[in-house]
Point group: C2
Chain length 516, copies 2
């Protein structure tokens, strides 16, 4: 294992994290309209985190100063990616801790974030989950504005992909290609490392462009620069952190909702296809099988949810347009794994909640900022199962799975799809049992029946990077009520989901670290 090169990579990433943190410093100054007087607590807290990040970065660069940089084995790339995300999570937790950010105010007493809260919030930001332990976002005395900005910025950094960024900037030849493959596990063709670098740059430019356009549109609709930037970061990265306790419901504006809906939808579209579309080749996007299925799922989910709300939910009962407005926003928000809310969907009828839970496990397109299973895997799954059913009664038939016009002949690819579903299922069930065992019943204030389903939703919402779940982790609640062991499980689930399981799972295996 080339530990020196890994140290070098981690060093660069520490510096990147520290560099991005500086962007949250200005919001401590009254000039930017967020605070009345200079917020020393937020400023010094963030500054301390920046200094630590730079120090860690320099030490790691020193350790890796004479590393051989020409090639990276698959194993080393997986280790580098997993460790990079863990390190970024730890460094990203520091501003919360150093500034003494408060999780909640309980009976007049201020509850500050502990280390588990901070790691949870940091992992939630980078992974684009948007699950939060903070309940009083709007009070600068509890949550400094600079820390709130950093919180949304982690969405930006994580959505861009910490390693994608690295590769786009430094290239690093075949080593960069290996790193990209380890971070972006979705089914893709092999290509040269120059193509890999260009893909990273294309992804990054689409991502940044979408953020800029959305920030502009939100500014036009009257948001402050702070709110516009934070909500753009939360939307395009399909992250879901807001700066208001009531999420997007705060604005009570159909125009803002529609704007954000469009950009959540784009955030889960394949960025490579958006890149071609921006260059004038709209055909490739429109005729893409995955994009079409993705759009159809959203359409069907929205219509059935709207019908359910219309018939069964007293609040929207006589108003089909209202039902459609809220179901469209919520279905797009959940399927794209953003997790913004304009309604307390925890109060919706069970069928609507069931649809949202299933959407959590679907997600958007490959090559986007979606963290969930992704539509392309479902397309493969259904084709494999249909073929398998046919082979039950026609044992001798030879037929090939096709996606659009392309035959898929690689048996390993098909197997890896099935394996991925099995893994997701297994991780979900095991962590569900873990939550049931470790989280005390008192968290539910004596409603034991809800623990089962609330924990299902907590697992689904963190593993798939959605954020809000049902019940005590519903859209108008947060994860603050959970105890440390449950928060640890959920923190790991967020990172597992973002990295598509494998990099984190393998580094937990002692065999992995033994030199062969």
């Amino acid at each position: 294992m080339n530990f020196k090169l890994i140290a070098y990579i981690l060093g660069i990433i520490s510096l990147i994290v520290g560099g991005f943190m500086t962007a949250s410093l200005p919001w401590s100054h009254p000039l930017f309209g967020q605070v009345d007087a200079f917020d020393w607590r937020g400023f010094t807290g963030t500054l301390g985190a920046i200094l630590v990040s730079i120090l860690v970065g320099l030490v790691l660069l020193f350790v890796g100063r004479d590393a051989r940089r020409d090639r990276l084995l698959r194993r080393e790339a997986l280790a580098a990616v997993a460790l990079a995300w863990l390190l970024a999570t730890i460094l990203g937790a520091l501003p919360y801790l150093f500034s003494g950010t408060a999780r909640a105010r309980e009976n007049g007493r201020i509850v500050r974030m502990n280390i588990f809260d901070a790691l949870f919030e940091s992992a939630s930001g980078y992974s684009g989950t948007g699950a939060s332990v903070l309940s009083e976002l709007e009070d600068p005395n509890l949550v400094p504005r600079s820390v709130l900005f950093w919180r949304s910025e982690t969405h930006f950094l994580g959505g861009l992909g910490i390693v994608v960024l690295f590769v786009a900037v430094l290239g690093m030849g075949s080593a960069g290609k290996q790193l990209m493959r380890a971070e972006v596990a979705a089914p893709s063709q092999t290509s040269t490392h120059e193509q890999t670098r260009r893909a990273a740059i294309a992804f990054g430019s689409v991502f940044v462009t979408l953020n800029l356009i959305l920030t502009g549109l939100l500014l036009l609709q009257g948001l402050s620069l702070f709110d516009a930037l934070c909500h753009a970061f939360g939307t395009v990265a399909t992250g879901g952190f807001s700066t208001y306790n009531n999420s997007i419901a705060h604005f009570q504006s159909p125009a803002i909702e529609l704007t954000i809906t469009v950009f959540m939808f784009l955030g889960c579209t394949n960025f490579a296809l958006l890149y071609f579309a921006a260059k004038g080749n709209l055909q490739r996007l429109i005729y893409d099988v995955e994009f079409r299925v993705y759009a159809v799922i959203i359409l069907v989910a929205t219509l059935t949810t709207a019908a359910c709300l219309f018939f069964e939910y007293p609040e929207y009962r006589y108003n089909p347009l209202t039902a459609l407005r809220y179901s469209l926003f919520q279905c797009v928000s959940i399927q794209t794994n953003t997790g913004f809310a304009t309604a307390d969907f925890d109060k919706w009828p069970p069928f609507a909640k069931g649809v949202l839970l299933v959407l959590m496990y679907i997600g958007g397109c490959a090559g986007s900022t979606s963290c969930s299973v992704k539509v392309i895997r479902y397309i493969f799954l259904f084709k494999i199962l249909a073929l398998e059913l046919e082979q039950t009664y026609r044992p001798n038939i030879v037929r090939v799975v096709r996606i659009g016009q392309h035959p898929v002949t690689d048996p390993d690819l098909l197997k890896s799809i099935l394996v991925y579903f099995a893994m997701i299922l297994l991780v979900s069930v095991v962590s569900w049992l873990g939550l049931l065992a470790l989280e005390p019943l008192s968290t539910w204030n004596g409603a034991p029946g809800n623990k089962l389903i609330d924990c299902v939703s907590a697992v689904a919402a963190t593993l798939n990077g959605v954020g809000p779940g049902l019940g005590i982790v519903g859209p108008m609640a947060n994860y603050g009520a959970f105890h440390a062991p449950a928060k640890c499980i959920l923190t790991v689930l967020m990172l597992l989901g973002r990295l598509e399981l494998f990099p984190l799972l393998v580094i937990l295996n002692p065999k992995f670290w033994r030199t062969r």
Copy 2:
């Protein structure tokens, strides 16, 4: 498609069903101690069902009188098995309907079973599920004793395997082998048709022997012949129909509980291995990997559930032995998919309920009467996933999945394991959404939060042939509250689970019926 041969097979099966029904006639007579006066309603109802079965059988035999019987294509075997189970379900529903069996007494009014109730109860019996819509088993005026006996007898017939019975009796050469393969889908070696017939006979003799021994043991413990037979049928077939409203809790006897626990355990052990053990070769059973894992899962589940009950459930709080007694019975009952209850586990802490829900999806060993996914598939799954994880960082490694000493080289077998899990998952999710959409919220009397988890448990308990679930379908409740559409979904799930999905899924496909 050789429709004549299929008609011939279905004809024989109708006669078998009618023949078995006659065994329930005597219980209408006071001589057998079940009724005070001759129960004409139960007698004529059952007799009518027998006559219809015989008539249908004769008509089908006439249609298939000159069928070519020497061979059966895979497709025809699948169709024959699926249709045989559907026909048996329909014929088995007739005694309930003809005798006017009552589902419940509501506000003093007697509610008779409708066609959906009867099909549900019949499918539940044959599939060894033991889910019931009947709430007053102990009142002969509502449920005639002959019908109650027939209800338990369907467990015997279904556990034996309607087609296994047929093959054991008639043989039918390679056609019989194809039929067996279609009914018993579990991973197995190909063999000659004479071996197949011998396997059917071995399976049948172990099954019948276990039933006889258990009946004897229960008689010794003071049960009436009626109760002893019915509970033996319910135990060995891991069915779960009792003759008492409170299931096994009725007896309040640790000895009876222990006897039944042992036979539930045996009912889910591979019958071929029990056959060898009975012939003196105990080694094969004890060193069998699947048997060992099966026993370990039960042990671990029992201990964790007992610990959970001991610490968290006030009723057993200061009594570890009581906690162990109830958790042992319930874990064995649920993992073997029997569904007998000695406690209202719906009131247990969420973790214990979570463990039971997961056990539902595990089940017993292949080659037993278990209807669930079965332990062997999990062993394969874990081996596949471990290998896959290793190949993530060692792309060039070549290693083979091993079960015990045997290397598994057939890639189709491994793929079929993964496909089976994906199918089970898909069927579960789709039918869960179906229940959420079709069953009105009023069934829950305004507790919408429970609908989500109760429907999860209803799907798990029927698809895996368990019977009782949680909440409104809990162990001290029944499926009577559901409306017809939900009952239809659950009826299909029970048959799907019993036939391991494929035979029923393929006949729903129009392409299947087109002659190639």
